[in-house]
Symmetry: C2
Subunit: 733 residues, 2 copies
C-alpha cells in the first residue's frame, strides 16, 4: 500500500516551490516599499514609483502622529503620571492602596486635570475629547487611579451633568468637581449587570411629601461593584425604576446622599465592602441598599423625564425605550476611555517585551559563544509582532472614536444618528481593545519568562488591573451583540422594501456598491470592481484594496446570512423567535467582531493614507514600515479567519497557504523596526517602570561576555570535557 514516488523530483520540486513562494513574497515586500511612497494629494513625486524606499521609522514624527488631536493634553497628563506620588506602589494593603488613590484624586484636582469636560461656567473647559484623552493616560500611573477618577468625574459627575439640569449642575457639580463630595454611580445590581432595564430598585413618588422613596425590594437589587461605595462616597447617583401614580416609567437617575460627615451611612442606607478584587484594589468597590430612603423631588436628574409636584410624569422623549437608551447613551464616555486606556496599556506591555526581547539572549544558534537575542527567534517575532500591529490599529481606531465622541458631545455634530453611530462604534471597539490589552499583557509576560512574573516588571499588575475592563462598562459579548443588532437593523432598513431573498444574497453576489454596513459607521463604498472571489496572486494579498475586499466581504456575507436565518423570526411567537436568535447567537457575535476588526483596519489604512496634517508629513520610509505593519494586521485577520475564507470559496487553498507565509515574512521584515515602533509610543522609563526594560539586561549580557572573553584571552578558561577527551586522541594522531 505504500506509495512510491520519484522522490528526488517531488521532494526537490516541493522545496523549489517553497523557495519560489518565499522569493515571490520577498519581492512583493520590496514592491510595497516602492508603492508605499504615497505623497500628499497633488504631489508630483507620485510618478517615481520605482524608487526603492529604505524602510526606516521617523520615531519623533510618528510619535507625534500617535499622540493625535489631543497631543498637548496627553503630554501634560504624561508629565503628571511621571510623578512618583501619582504612581502605583506594589504590595500596599487594601486600605493603604485605597487611601493612596483617594489622595491622588485630590492631586489631580489641584493640577486641573479633571475638569475639562465640565461647563466653563463652573470652571470647566467644555472640552470633551481632551478630557477623555487626559483620563486615559492615567492608566500608566495606576489603573486604579484612572478608574477611580472615572467613577468620580466620568460616571458620578457625568451623570449629574448629562442627566441633570441647571439646578443639579449648580447645586451638585461644584462639590463633585472639587472632590468635596466623592460619589458612587449606583447602576449595577447584584442581580442585574448588563440588563440595566431590569434593575429592581424603585423610586416611588410620594405626592404628599413631594419626595421620592428609594427602596431596595430584595437582595438581588442591592447595588453592587460600585466604586466609592465601600468607603469614600458621601453621595451617589442611584438608578431606579421611577414609579408615580402607580405607573412605572422605567429607569431614571436620582441624586442620593449616602453618608454623613463622620462617614456613617444615613438612615435607611446600608452597604457592604466588595473586598479584595483581582485588580484595581485602589478602588473601594462596594454594595448599597436602601430601605425607604426619602429624597426631595428635585433630586431626580430630570433632563429626559420629570415628575411634577402633582405626580404627573413628563418627558421630552415619548418612547420609554428610546428614552432609556438616550439616558444610557450619555454615559458612553466610560467605554470610550476604556478603549483608549487599553491601547495605552498594550503600548506599555510591548515596550517592555520588545525592549527585553532585543537584549535578552538564550541558546546559542550556530555559534559556541554568542546566544541569540530572543527577538531573533521566529516564534518570538510571531508572538510579538502581530500584537504590535494590532496595537497600532487599535490606537488609530481609538483616535477616530475619540474624535467622533468629541463631535457629538461638543455639539458640533450631534444628531440622533451621530449618537447612535458613536455608541455603536464604542461598543465595537471597546471589546476588541480590552481583550487585546489582556492578550498582549499575557503574551508579553510569558515572553519575558520568570522576569515577567515579578511585580517589578509591571506586566502582571497591569494585567490584573485591566482584567475587569473586559466585562465592565458593558460586558464585551453583550456589546458585540448590540453592534450586531445595529448591523442587522441597518441591513433590513436599507432593504425594507426589496424582496428579502435577493437581499440575503445581495452582499454576497454583487460586485460593487458594498454599502451594507455603511450607515454612519463607516462608508464601505470603496470596493474593487474587478476583484474576483478568489485572490489570484500573492501580490494581491498585500494590496490594500484586496485586504479591504476580503475583510468587507466577510462582514457583509455574515450579516446577510444571519439576516436570512433570522428572517422567519417575525412570523414566530416571541419565545420561538428568541430561540431562533439564540440558535445563531455565536454567528451574530462573530459578525460584529468581524465588523469591528474591519473598522480597525480602515482606521489604520486611513492613518497611512492621510494626506493632510501630520500624516502627510510622514516620510516615505516610515510609510513603508507602517504599510508593512498594516499588512501584517490585515493579513493577520485573514489568517485568523482563514477557514471561513476557504469554506466560502474566497481564497483557494494555495492562496490561503500564502497568507501564513506572508505574515511570517512580514514579521521578520518588521523585526528590525520593532524597537523604533515601540519608542514611537512615547512612553519614557518613568512611565514604563519595568526593571527588565531599563537596559539592565544588556549590561548583564555585556558583563558576562566580557568575563568569558577575558577568560579565553588569558588562557584560564577550562576546556570542555568533550574537547579534553578529543585532545589526547589528537595528540596520539
Amino acid at each position: 500500500m505504500t506509495h512510491t514516488v520519484d522522490t528526488k523530483n517531488s521532494d526537490g520540486s516541493r522545496r523549489a516551490d517553497d523557495a519560489v513562494e518565499a522569493a515571490a513574497i520577498e519581492s512583493e515586500l520590496d514592491a510595497s516599499a516602492r508603492v508605499a511612497k504615497k505623497p500628499g494629494a497633488g504631489d508630483s513625486r507620485r510618478a517615481s514609483t520605482n524608487d526603492v524606499v529604505v524602510a526606516r521609522t521617523d520615531v519623533e514624527r510618528l510619535g507625534q502622529y500617535l499622540l493625535g488631536t489631543w497631543a498637548d493634553v496627553r503630554l501634560a497628563a504624561r508629565e503628571l503620571t511621571a510623578r512618583p506620588e501619582l504612581q502605583r506602589i506594589d504590595g500596599l494593603t487594601l486600605d493603604e492602596h485605597r487611601q493612596r488613590v483617594f489622595g491622588q484624586l485630590k492631586l489631580l484636582v489641584e493640577n486641573g486635570q479633571v475638569h475639562r469636560a465640565f461647563p466653563s461656567s463652573l470652571g470647566g473647559e467644555d472640552d470633551h475629547g481632551g478630557n477623555i484623552a487626559g483620563f486615559e493616560e492615567l492608566v500608566t500611573a495606576d489603573p486604579s487611579l484612572q478608574i477611580k477618577s472615572g467613577v468620580q468625574w466620568g460616571l458620578f459627575g457625568a451623570a449629574v451633568l448629562h442627566l441633570g439640569t441647571a439646578y443639579h449642575h449648580e447645586t451638585f457639580l461644584p462639590g463633585i468637581m472639587s472632590l468635596d463630595v466623592p460619589g458612587a454611580f449606583a447602576m449595577t445590581e447584584t442581580g442585574h449587570g448588563s440588563d440595566v432595564a431590569a434593575i429592581g430598585t424603585t423610586a416611588t413618588y410620594d405626592e404628599a411629601t413631594q419626595e421620592f422613596v428609594i427602596h431596595t425590594p430584595f437582595r438581588g437589587a442591592w447595588k453592587d461593584y460600585l466604586g466609592n461605595a465601600a468607603v469614600h462616597g458621601t453621595a451617589a447617583v442611584v438608578f431606579a425604576q421611577l414609579i408615580t401614580r402607580d405607573v412605572d416609567h422605567g429607569v431614571h437617575a436620582f441624586y442620593v446622599p449616602l453618608r454623613d460627615e463622620t462617614g456613617a451611612f444615613l438612615p435607611g442606607i446600608g452597604g457592604e465592602d466588595d473586598g479584595l478584587k483581582g485588580g484595581l484594589n485602589g478602588i473601594d468597590n462596594g454594595r448599597l441598599h436602601f430601605d425607604q430612603v426619602r429624597i426631595p423631588r428635585q433630586n431626580l436628574l430630570n433632563r429626559y423625564g420629570d415628575v411634577a409636584e402633582d405626580g404627573s410624569y413628563h418627558s421630552v422623549i415619548e418612547s420609554p425605550g428610546r428614552r432609556f437608551f438616550t439616558m444610557l447613551g450619555t454615559l458612553v464616555q466610560g467605554r470610550v476611555s476604556l478603549d483608549g486606556a487599553s491601547v495605552a496599556a498594550a503600548k506599555i506591555a510591548l515596550t517592555i517585551a520588545v525592549t527585553y526581547g532585543n537584549e535578552r539572549r538564550q541558546f546559542t544558534a550556530g555559534s559556541d559563544t554568542d546566544e541569540e537575542v530572543l527577538l531573533d527567534y521566529q516564534l518570538h517575532q510571531k508572538r510579538l509582532m502581530p500584537k504590535l500591529a494590532t496595537t497600532y490599529a487599535a490606537s488609530f481606531a481609538h483616535e477616530q472614536l475619540l474624535t467622533k465622541f468629541d463631535e457629538v458631545f461638543s455639539g458640533a455634530s450631534d444628531t440622533d444618528e451621530d449618537r447612535q453611530d458613536l455608541e455603536t462604534l464604542a461598543a465595537a471597539l471597546k471589546p476588541l481593545s480590552t481583550w487585546h490589552a489582556l492578550d498582549t499583557l499575557q503574551e508579553a509576560r510569558e515572553a519575558c519568562g520568570g522576569a515577567g512574573f515579578l511585580a517589578e516588571n509591571r506586566l502582571v499588575g497591569l494585567r490584573a488591573d485591566l482584567d475587569v475592563y473586559a466585562t465592565f462598562e458593558g460586558d464585551n459579548h453583550v456589546l458585540l451583540q448590540l453592534v450586531a443588532k445595529r448591523l442587522l437593523s441597518d441591513y433590513s432598513r436599507r432593504f425594507a422594501k426589496a424582496d428579502f431573498g435577493v437581499l440575503a444574497r445581495y452582499a454576497v453576489e454583487q460586485a460593487r456598491g458594498r454599502t451594507v454596513n455603511g450607515t454612519g459607521l463607516r462608508s464601505l463604498a470603496q470596493t474593487v470592481a474587478d476583484f474576483g472571489s478568489t485572490a489570484r496572486s500573492v501580490g494581491q494579498l498585500r494590496d490594500a484594496a484586496a485586504q479591504r475586499q476580503l475583510l468587507t466581504d466577510r462582514v457583509e456575507t455574515m450579516v446577510a446570512e444571519v439576516a436570512a436565518k433570522l428572517r422567519p423570526a417575525s412570523k414566530l411567537s416571541k419565545k420561538d423567535a428568541a430561540d431562533l436568535f439564540n440558535l445563531h447567537q455565536s454567528e451574530i457575535i462573530e459578525a460584529a467582531r468581524a465588523h469591528a476588526e474591519l473598522l480597525q483596519w480602515e482606521a489604520f489604512t486611513e492613518a497611512i493614507e492621510g494626506a493632510s496634517g501630520i500624516a502627510a508629513g510622514l516620510d516615505d520610509g516610515t510609510r513603508v514600515v507602517l504599510t508593512w505593519l498594516r499588512d501584517l494586521f490585515g493579513l493577520g485577520l485573514i489568517e485568523k479567519h482563514l477557514a471561513w475564507y476557504l469554506m466560502n470559496g474566497r481564497l483557494s487553498p494555495k492562496r490561503a497557504q500564502a497568507v501564513g507565509l506572508y505574515t511570517e515574512r512580514l514579521s521578520a521584515r518588521l523585526r528590525p523596526h520593532a524597537q523604533d515602533l515601540v519608542r514611537a509610543f512615547g512612553y519614557g522609563p518613568e512611565h514604563v517602570r519595568a526593571a527588565i526594560a531599563t537596559g539592565a539586561e544588556k549590561a548583564r549580557q555585556t558583563e558576562a561576555r566580557d568575563y568569558y572573553r577575558a577568560q579565553r584571552e588569558s588562557g584560564t578558561a577550562p576546556v570542555s570535557e568533550k574537547a579534553a577527551a578529543k585532545k589526547p586522541a589528537a595528540t596520539r594522531a
Copy 2:
C-alpha cells in the same frame, strides 16, 4: 450589476439545507447514543445496538473513575485541603502569606502528607505516583502551598534523593523531610532559565583542601526566582559547572548550606528578595550569589558524576550530553505535578462557572417575567462546554502521564527508552494543561462578570497563581520544541536507511501502518484503511476512527513536512542550519502541539473504551455523555485547525462547515449534563469556596421572583408606562 435570482427558492432551499444538516446531526447524535453502548469484552449485550440509551451521568462512579489509580491518596489529600488552616486567605501581606504557607508546610509534615516518595528506610513509602497525586491536590487549598512544598520535597529533596547517593540520603534527607532544613533548588540564573547547560555558576575542585569552590562570576549568573531563597532556606542544591583539573565537566548539583541559625547568610553568600509577584506570594522567591564559597568534596551529589580526592572525574555515563539530560530527567516530576495541578484548577474553575451559569439569569427571552439562565445561551455554552471537554481530556491524559511516571520511578519499567518517553510525554502535556487552566480560569472569570472579578469567588486568585505555571519547570514553548525534536528524531531514525524523499511523503500518502510517532509515546497503529482523504458525511465526523484519522494525519503530515524542510540542514554550516531551523520554528512547535492534542484525545478515547476496572463499570448512559464530550473535544480540535484541513484537502468545504455545526449541537446536547459533569470532579464547597457557587445566586433569584409574583397577585404592581399608555386607548375603543 445586482444579481437577481429566484429568491423564494434560493432562500427557501438554503434554509431547507440548514434544516437537513441540523436534522442529520441530531440523528447522528442519537446514533451515537446507540453505539455508545460499548460493553466490556465478551459482553453479549453488544448485539443490541439499536436500543437508544438515555444519556445520563452516574456522578459517583464517574467521579471515582476520575480519581484514578491513586484515588485513596487524592481523597486523603482533599480531606486535608478541606481544613481552613491549610487554605489561602486573601489579602494577607507578603510576609504574612509567606509565614502562613511555611507554617502549613509543617502541618503537611505532621500529617504524613509529603514523604511518600522517599525511601522506606528513611520513613518514606517509595510511592512515587501517589506522592505526586497528593501534591497536586494541594492546589485547591492554595497554589502557594502546592509550589512551596514542591520546592522543598519535589525539587530540593528530590535532587538530593535522585542525584545524590547513600551518604547524602542519610546525611541530608532526614532534615529535608522533617522541614528542619528548608531548602532552595538553585538551578535557574538571572541570565539563564530554559538553557540550563549555559549557567555561569562554577564549582571548582581544590585538591589541596578537597573542597569545591562555588562561585558566581558575574551578575547574570546570580541564582534567581528560587523558592525558599529569600527567607526560609538554610541550604540549597546549587547547580554549577563542575571544573576539576582545568576541565569543565558540565552542570552538576552540590549541596550548599546557606544560612546560620539566626537566618543570616553564611560567609560569601548573598542574596536578594524577588519581592512581590503576579501570584504565588506565599513563596519567598529570591536570588543568591556566591563568592568563593567552599564546601566539602562530599557535597557533590555524585550519582551521575564524581570527583575523587585527587581531582579525577568519573561518571557512569560517558557522554557529557547524555549525562546532563539524565540528571535533569530525574527532576521531571515538577512537570508532571504541574500538569495535574493545572487540571485540578481547571476543574475548580468550571465547577464555579457552570454552577453560577445554571443559576444566574439575565435578559428575558420570549417571556416578560422569566429571564434566561446564562447557560441556556448558545454563546455561554460555546464558551464553557468545550473547556469542560478539554478538562476531561487533560484529566485522563494526566492519569496516563502519572502512571508512566510511577512505572519509571518505581523501577517497574525503567529503561532509557521509558525515561525518554516519560520526559517527552511530560513536555507535551504540561504546556497544554497549564495554558488550558489559564484560559479556563479567564473564561470562567469573564463568564461570571463582575462577580468573577471579586477575590471571594476564587477565579482571579487562582489565575494569578497559575500564571507562572506556563513558564516555570520549562517554558511551554521550549518544552514543545523538545517534543518536536523528539518527533523529528524518531521520524528520521525510523527511516534512517530509506530514501528520504519517499519518507517525507510517507505519512501523507500511505493508507495504513501509521506508526510514525509511535516510538514509546503512543502507538498510532490503529487507522482506518478505507477512510478517504475527505470525510464524506456528517456521520463520519463523530466516528472515533474518523477523528483519530484526521488528528493523526495532521501530526504525521506536519512532522513529515518539517522533516523534509529541515533535511538540507545536515549539509549546512552550523549557523545556516540554525537559521533554517529558525525559519521553521513556528511549524515545528505547531507539530508538537498537534501531537500533544492527539495524546489527550487518545487518552480520552481509551478512558471511554476501557474494558476493565472502573471504566468497564461505567453504565451506558454515562458512556453516551462521555462520548459526546470526547467528540466535542475531538471535533473542537479539528474546528480549531480547520484551515489546515481545508488547505491540505483533508476536508471539503461542505464537511468543514458541518464541523462547526456539530460542535455547536454537541454543546447544546451536553448542556443538561454540565452540572453532573462538574459534580463528578468531586470537589465540595470546602474546596470550591466561591460565594457565587454556593446556591446564593439561586436563593436571590427565587426571592426576586417571589417578590414580583406577590406584587402581581396582590395587584400592587405598578403598570408599565407602555401598558398605561395603551389602557386609555383600549377604554376608548
